[in-house]
Each structure stands twice: as structure tokens, then as C-alpha cells.
């Protein structure tokens, strides 16, 4: 009984007090021509254990987009993965700056975390060629941890100035970039209420971009929780000796 109680206390210290369950994923897209759309797709089990997949198609004035994402139930796993595919078509007749945000709720636990992420993509140009570029001197890809309603930036990729072009009716690669390799090894703050990826980029008229990305966090147990586990171990050892 003593052991059970100690275990519950230790696990509580380790994991915090968030609600267990399927991650809540939120997606939003906004274009500079005024179109915007958002969604909160429902996850279904997919891929590895504790992973859920999400599909959503969002259309607004001047754009069409498709999202296929995966997120982890962090009440069951110390490792959180948010990633997948983003497709966006600029259906307008002029270059637009798009802002895309995807986030997944996480179970706040640990004293800190290890992080890592990557992104790459392909660009398909129309008959006038293709353009994918940074906008307003901002990084195209930024990963963040949301804690107490504040987005804390963890890392940025595809930093400004960044530009990829393609010939008419042709394709071009957006070279892959990553941080925290081997992923995840870059120290970061503890998991909060959510993890997310924020994208800002320019896309040529009639062009299409397909991005694949992953953002990974791994919780590092709080020292108090580690100490609790150590005490439990010592207690068990003493009882065995007795």
C-alpha cells in the first residue's frame, strides 16, 4: 500500500495536472488578400501508439489548403510529436503572404524538455513560374511551446532572406533544414499547454507549395520526481533486505 501511494505521488509530480486524452489540434490560415479560415479537426488513432492523425481542408478567398497532421497523446508518452504535411495553393492572381499556424495541446510536465524539428518541401509553379519566399524579413518556420497563453519560440528554420523559384510548369525543391539533431537534443523549456508551428511565407500567383515538417519535444522529469523515484527504489531495496 505504501508503495502504491508513493508511486501515485511520484507519477503525479512527474506528470502534472493536465487532462488526459486525444490532443486538440488547431489550424489557421490567413492570406494577405483577406481570405482566412480555421479548423479544429478531430484526431483518430494512427501510426505509432499514442499518435493521432488529423485531416483538414481549408479554403478561403484566394487560397486552398490541405493538412495531414500527426500529434501525440502526451498523457501517455513523454515524447510529443507534431508534424505532417501542409499543402497550400495561391488561387489568386497575385503574390500573397500567407500565415499558417498549427498547434496541438500537450500535457504540461517535466522541468524542461529536449527539442528538435525539421522542414522541407516542394514548389510547383504555374505557367508563369513559381515563387516561395520569406516575407517581411521573418523566418518562414518557427516552433513554439505555449505556456500560460504565451507562445515561447523555440527555434526558427528557413530564415530570411529565403527564396525558391521554379521555371514555368515545373517543380523545385525546398531544401530540408533541421535543429536539435539528433532530434530531439536541443534544450528547451518544459512542455506547456500546447506545442505549435507558425509559418509565414510568400507564394506566387497560381503556385502550390507542399511542406513536410516535424516538431518533437521530450519531457525531462523534474528533479523532485527523480528524487521521489529514487526514494521509492531505496525503500523497496530496504524492504527486500529485511
Amino acid at each position: 500500500m505504501k508503495f502504491c501511494l508513493s508511486s501515485i505521488l511520484a507519477v503525479t509530480a512527474l506528470t502534472g495536472s493536465a487532462i488526459a486524452g486525444i490532443p486538440v489540434v488547431q489550424i489557421s490560415v490567413a492570406g494577405s488578400s483577406g481570405g482566412s479560415a480555421s479548423a479544429a479537426p478531430v484526431g483518430s488513432p494512427g501510426g505509432d501508439p499514442f499518435q493521432y492523425s488529423y485531416n483538414s481542408t481549408l479554403a478561403g478567398a484566394g487560397f486552398l489548403s490541405n493538412f495531414t497532421l500527426t500529434a501525440t497523446d502526451t498523457t501517455s508518452s513523454d515524447r510529443a510529436i507534431l508534424g505532417g504535411f501542409i499543402t497550400l495553393i495561391n488561387a489568386s492572381a497575385s503574390v500573397q503572404t500567407f500565415t499558417v499556424d498549427i498547434s496541438a495541446s500537450t500535457f504540461a510536465h517535466g522541468s524542461s524538455s529536449l527539442s528538435g524539428g525539421s522542414v522541407s518541401g516542394v514548389l510547383t509553379g504555374n505557367s508563369g513560374g513559381g515563387l516561395f519566399a520569406s516575407a517581411n524579413s521573418k523566418s518562414i518556420w518557427t516552433a513554439y511551446i505555449r505556456a500560460s497563453a504565451i507562445n515561447n519560440n523555440i527555434a526558427s528554420l528557413l530564415n530570411a532572406p529565403f527564396q525558391v523559384t521554379s521555371a514555368a510548369d515545373n517543380v523545385a525543391s525546398i531544401p530540408g533544414e533541421a535543429f536539435g539533431q539528433p532530434i530531439p537534443t536541443q534544450p528547451a523549456i518544459a512542455m506547456g499547454d500546447a506545442m505549435g508551428i507558425h509559418l509565414v511565407f510568400q507564394l506566387g500567383a497560381g503556385d502550390q507549395v507542399d511542406l513536410t515538417t516535424a516538431f518533437v519535444l521530450e519531457a525531462i522529469p523534474a528533479p523532485s520526481a527523480v528524487a521521489a523515484f529514487a526514494l521509492i527504489g531505496l525503500g523497496q531495496r530496504r524492504r527486500r533486505r529485511e
Binding site: N66, T68, T70, G84, T87, S118, Q208, D210
Partner: protein, 181 residues
């Protein structure tokens, strides 16, 4: 027109966007292998094509982005039969291939990577292949478990420089006759 064959039902194939105007096949397609083993896919996309009686040339390109979503690396390769990953067709006859047998692309743990695009330009239409009918792109590949890949591809048939010159001459002649009349 798009049709897809895949190995098992738990493999998700996700239409992301494609377009087909006369003689142009262009678009992108995403595949997410949610199963626990590698799977082989075949994907078809067609568009009507109407070429001229002669002198047509073909252009095409393909590139891909691959992401490991389960932390054990990701691999994209040709199918077990060794078919090219990209095959351009006219009336179901293969007229050009890219990323032929033994093509392979890998990324490490949770990484994303994009291949160097492959392309062909101004390749004459093979003799005996009519330029009217359906132009198509066929993608055949094997994808590792738990990972995802997105392709972008194009294929079009256009009048070649010779055909364009002939058209220009015909236009001039017609113009000349009108003026004389």
C-alpha cells in the same frame, strides 16, 4: 482523372492538389503510410492531350519531400519490380521515365528532406505515339512504415520548334492571301 492503387487499407493516400488542362498534367500528391511495415504504392493521373500532326515535344519534372514521423528514419525507393518512380505516358504507353531503378532517398530521425528535382525538356515524342488522347503521370514507389512523402510533378506535350515554325509560315501565307484578295 486520378486513380490510386495501394497495398492495404490502412495506408492513407491524401489528395493535396492537382490540375489538368489540355496536354498538361501537373500537381502534387501526399502519401502517409500509417501501417507498421513498408508499403508499395501506384498512383495514376491523366489529362486529355491534343497535339499536332507532328513535331511535338515533351517536358516533365518530379521532386519529392520525405519526412520521418516516427523517429526511426524514412526511406523512399523504387518498387520491388524495379520500375521507375515517375513514368510519363500517352494513351497508357510509357514515353519517358525519371528516377529509374535503384533510386533511393532516406532521411534520419524526425528529419525532412527534399530530393533534387529530375526533369526532361524538349524531348521529341516517340514515333508511332499519337499526340491525341490521354497524357498521364504514373508514380510507383515503396515507402517505409510510419512515414510520409509528398510528390510534385508535371508532364506536358507542346508543339516543338519545328511545328511552331510551320504554324508561323502557315499564318503568314494565310495573311498574304487575305491581303491579295
Amino acid at each position: 482523372m486520378v486513380s490510386i492503387h495501394w497495398s492495404i487499407a490502412c495506408v492513407a493516400v491524401l489528395g493535396t492538389g492537382y490540375s489538368a488542362s489540355a496536354g498538361v498534367v501537373s500537381g502534387s500528391q501526399t502519401f502517409y503510410n500509417m501501417s507498421s511495415s513498408s508499403r508499395t504504392y501506384t498512383y495514376y493521373q491523366y489529362a486529355p492531350v491534343s497535339g499536332d500532326s507532328g513535331g511535338n515535344v515533351m517536358n516533365g519534372s518530379v521532386t519529392t519531400t520525405l519526412t520521418d514521423l516516427n523517429g526511426n528514419g524514412a526511406t523512399l525507393s523504387t518498387d520491388p519490380a524495379g520500375d521507375a518512380i515517375y513514368t510519363a505516358t500517352i494513351n497508357n504507353v510509357a514515353v519517358q521515365t525519371l528516377w529509374n531503378s535503384q533510386f533511393g532517398f532516406t532521411v534520419g530521425q524526425f528529419l525532412s528532406g527534399a530530393t533534387v528535382p529530375a526533369s526532361f525538356a524538349n524531348v521529341p515524342l516517340p514515333s508511332g505515339v499519337p499526340a491525341d488522347g490521354n497524357a498521364g503521370v504514373v508514380l510507383r514507389f515503396t515507402l517505409s512504415a510510419g512515414d510520409a512523402v509528398s510528390f510534385a510533378y508535371t508532364f506536358n506535350v507542346v508543339p516543338g520548334p519545328g511545328a511552331l515554325a510551320l504554324l508561323a509560315c502557315a499564318g503568314c501565307a494565310t495573311n498574304g492571301r487575305r491581303r491579295k484578295g
